[in-house]
Amino acid sequence: MSSLSVSETVKTVDKPQERRLAIKVEDLHLYYRTKAEANPTLKAALIRKAKRQKVEQKVVKAVDGVSFEVPHGTVLGVIGHNGAGKSTLLRALSGILPPTQGRVEVHGRVSTLLALGVGFNQNLTGRENIILGGLAQGWSKDQIREKENAIIDFADLDKLSEGAIDRAMKTYSSGMYARVAFAVGVHMDPDILLVDEALSAGDAGFKEKATEKMLELCENARTIVLVSHGLETVRHMSNHCLWMDHGHLVQSGDPDEVIDAYIEKQRKDREEADRKKAAAEAAEAKEDQALAAKAERTKEALHRAIGEDV
């Protein structure tokens, strides 16, 4: 186990020279400049212009100085609390969000499963959406037609509802929707697959199938970056793990070690919170008691003064 400073480069395997590099991240910073502008409108802008005011800028450091390298064939699990910068990191890796500072180098064709069913049209059938989703990922119609049957088999909707693939997707349950979307994502033959919480949808049976498929992709020297809150999924699937906290890289290494450390930290945080809460409650109780005593004293004083019951 090794705790790392912010911008230290982390080798994700023992012998990185022997394997091809898939992703190289150098001192990546990604800030969101959320202009604290409640409504970004022409009117507001004109009024500001007239008053010669500037918009107040608030900088959210979603990813703050992260460096690591991933060789091909790695399944990299990324864990951390909500808002730790995991999804932002994935978006930087896929080129969606430009880095504020630093550099990202990606070798190979990237396929993203950041959200399920990107480019899908609810009013069209599952079959039509497979084509649409594939085109959205940058494939040609011919290439998709070749894979269409494999995708449909993988999604295996017939088992759930006969002929569902030729019905409009708005009639699908969320699990069925996720199956089709996931099937499209993993069949696009990517060199690097970036997955964000995609496995959380779908029932146990499908999850197992999806896990198998991802492991199969890895065996073919594909690289997967997996962001998940499902710690057991990460433990089971990945062979390397990153733990992020408030945009920083806390720890990088063997999934078991990192996840155990993360769980330990969470437990401590919870205990700490519990302690604080208990302390706060105790203080409150004490205050209540004091107030009650004071009220009692006042009552007695009144009783003495007036000489009758109050």
């Binding site: 091809r20 080129g95 070798h107 190979g108 959200a115 049209n121 085109l135 940058g138």
Partner: protein
Amino acid sequence: MATATSETGSEQEARTKTSEPPRTAAEQVHVFEPYRYALPKLGPYFKDVWARRQFATHMASSTLKGQHFDSFFGQFWLVLNPMLLALVYFLLTSVLAGQGGGLKHFVGLLTGLFAFFYTRNIIQFASQSITGGGKMIINMSFPKMLLPLSTTFTAMLMYFPTLLVYAVFYVTVHRSATWNILWVVPIFAIQTVFSYGLGLLFAAVTLYFRDMSTLLPYVLRIWMYVSPVLFSLSYIKAKTVPDPVTGHTALPHWILYFYQWDPFSPIINSWNTVLVGDGPTPFYTGGTNPVTHVVTPAASYAPQITEILAGTGCAIVALLIGAWYFMSREREFAVRL
């Protein structure tokens, strides 16, 4: 989009991998670096746009398919819509306003109106394409220009059935046409480029000023009245010539400047000219002038070359400005949404 996409690493990569399973595609290397307001490298950018062209066209047809998915008439709405629109304007101009000219005048009106609605749709759809395509932009890396391009195809797919409806009216009224009518093809192309350019501009502007989505329909409607859509340019000119006796003009003279300096004017006026002629009365097609009772030969269907050239110039300028504004800012779109 990547600031820089280079494939120089491909050979090297291919040599080093020997024990790994064969891969057909050459290794791509993407480098993402800090953002600045600048155009992306045009070569890789347009290569990527070209590679994903099927996505733009397929999404356009899928959008239309999805729109009328659960309606009774389904895809027939694409023809039904322009027919109902024509009916509305027929009632408005021929029945309620009691204008003469009958069907001929009506067809003349539809000529400019349908063409203008095509441009209006391109701009309006494009302006919503970025703010409405949030889920796609935030989850996928692709040249954003494809989104307004796709909505432009949508507008085009809606325009073709409209032209079919128009053709039926046209043939009923005019019965014959000269070869000059083929000018509609280049004019259509010029108009599409012009509209797409403005679409790109408004797509990006709407992202920065969300008010634009509400404001734009009004801007476009006003624009319709200051373009020679419902009248020909010659008609406006005739109306602004002072009466030799009283010195009054039917329309104030400054109106002419609007019509003349509107960048869309040469395009739409050429379109009107080619189809229904250009003359001192609306949609003048030759014969006896009802005002002066002078018999003149039928209007030429050939457009003025100066107008065609001016229109082409406007289209290129619109495309360049729109594409520059859009492309130099598109990397920021994901952050802005």
